[in-house]
């Protein structure tokens, strides 16, 4: 009984660790081709593993010291990665179409940036605000 169970557990671990399904999210569809610009500010594997460190460091530099370099700024990420669909609509941050949410929903890692920060480029936000005021 115990032997069977332990073999099952072992098999499950082997499957999870070597299947590459959930750990590297290679199978997750990105809308990277839509992103403007030729390449990101760092190589893709570095960005995948460390983007949150870059953003967190930058947020401190910007808020506390007033440094406004664009390289790791969240607004810069949004400007480049969030592009409108064919009909001109921008994806909601709650949907998997959104660049950030695509992975974060799949990985069940809740992202709180957009509780406060804009999840769309400035122009889109301005237009929507004007419409809602009318």
């Amino acid at each position: 009984m115990h032997k069977k169970l332990s073999i099952k557990i072992l098999l499950t671990f082997i499957l999870v660790f070597f299947s590459n399904v959930s750990i590297t999210h290679d199978n997750v569809q990105h809308n990277i081709p839509v992103s403007s610009g030729e390449s990101c500010v760092e190589p893709t594997d570095v960005m995948r593993a460390q983007h949150h460190f870059f953003i967190k460091h930058q947020s401190h530099e910007t808020v506390v010291n007033g440094i406004r370099t664009k390289k790791y700024s969240l607004n810069n990420c949004i400007d480049c990665h969030i592009k409108p669909a064919d009909d001109g609509s921008y994806p909601s941050v709650k949907s998997e179409e959104h660049f950030c949410s695509g992975c974060h929903i799949k990985a069940a890692a809740k992202v709180e940036c957009f509780d406060c920060h804009a999840s769309k480029p400035l122009k889109k936000v301005e237009i929507e605000n004007k419409v809602s005021k009318k």
Binding site: S59, H60, E61, V63, V64, N65, G66, I67, R68, T69, K70, N75, I78, D115, C116, H117, A118, P121, L122, V125, E126, E128, N129, S132
Partner: protein, 247 residues
């Protein structure tokens, strides 16, 4: 036991004497560099202290251009709940009991040199930037609202509602305290003005003058040295960066 005292007079004396000294050594040349926009990778400098001078004689009771401009600039919405709605600037009416003279003034964060909100903040979220702007680091704010209680000017607001469509330059969210940032994004961009000051000028009142208090050549310093500028609740010794003329 050592006794801690805040020696404001000595500090002010040293600051003023240094300023006078610097001004006499290098007039014009030294201070000219401040007029330009700061490079993006350069931190805010403590050589500058941003402030505002408000001429209450120019401000009229029926005008709220500064309030509207501030709301538009930062995407502040009205939820129809006056008790809790966010206010970064509000208009006040002051009445002199002796003469009956009325003044209408805009009231916002006074960007104190010795801010009580910074003293009481348990997490260090409330802080003063090198160039004298008092801000809330919303990444650290836990929404305890001690700063709101400590502020003698009622300048801070707590966000009670879920917000959507925030502007990229003005991140705001439920559960954090916020207040006038002196349009820090515009300052860092090198605009050299604030949304309220711009709107006031546009409306032809020219009641709000924004500038560098440390630069003796700036318009605000010239006007302050010529006409003076009162500090509201000067008895608290906070040395505010927002000064009022005519009250």
């Amino acid at each position: 036991m050592k006794k801690y005292e805040i020696k404001l007079d000595r500090r002010n004396f040293l600051k003023k004497s240094t300023m006078v000294g610097l001004a006499s050594i290098a007039p014009g040349v030294f201070f000219q560099e401040f007029a330009h926009a700061r490079p993006l990778d350069e931190p805010a400098s403590d050589k500058i202290r941003w402030g505002m001078l408000i001429d209450t004689n120019q401000c009229t009771e029926d005008c709220d251009a500064c309030v509207t401009a501030c709301n538009d600039e930062h995407g502040i919405e009205d939820f129809g709940r006056p008790a809790t709605d966010t206010q970064w600037i509000r208009k006040l009416n002051l009445i002199d009991e002796f003469s009956g003279k009325q003044h209408s003034i805009p009231m916002m964060c006074q960007h104190c040199e010795n801010p009580p909100c910074v003293d009481v903040c348990p997490t260090g979220a409330s802080f003063k930037r090198a160039d004298g702007i008092v801000l809330v680091n919303k990444h650290t704010c836990i929404g305890c609202r001690y700063c709101m209680m400590s502020c003698p000017y009622k300048a801070r607001s707590f966000v009670h509602e879920n917000l959507e469509n925030q502007l990229p330059h003005a991140p705001r969210g439920k559960g954090c305290v916020e207040s006038c940032t002196l349009c820090v994004h515009k300052i860092d961009r090198g605009d050299g003005t604030t949304a309220c000051s711009e709107a006031c000028q546009k409306d032809g009142h020219q009641a709000i003058l924004f500038g560098d208090l440390n630069d003796p050549e700036s318009e605000i310093s010239k006007q302050l040295s010529k006409f003076g500028g009162k500090e509201i609740r000067s008895d608290l010794g906070l040395n505010t960066a927002v000064r009022y003329r005519g009250i």
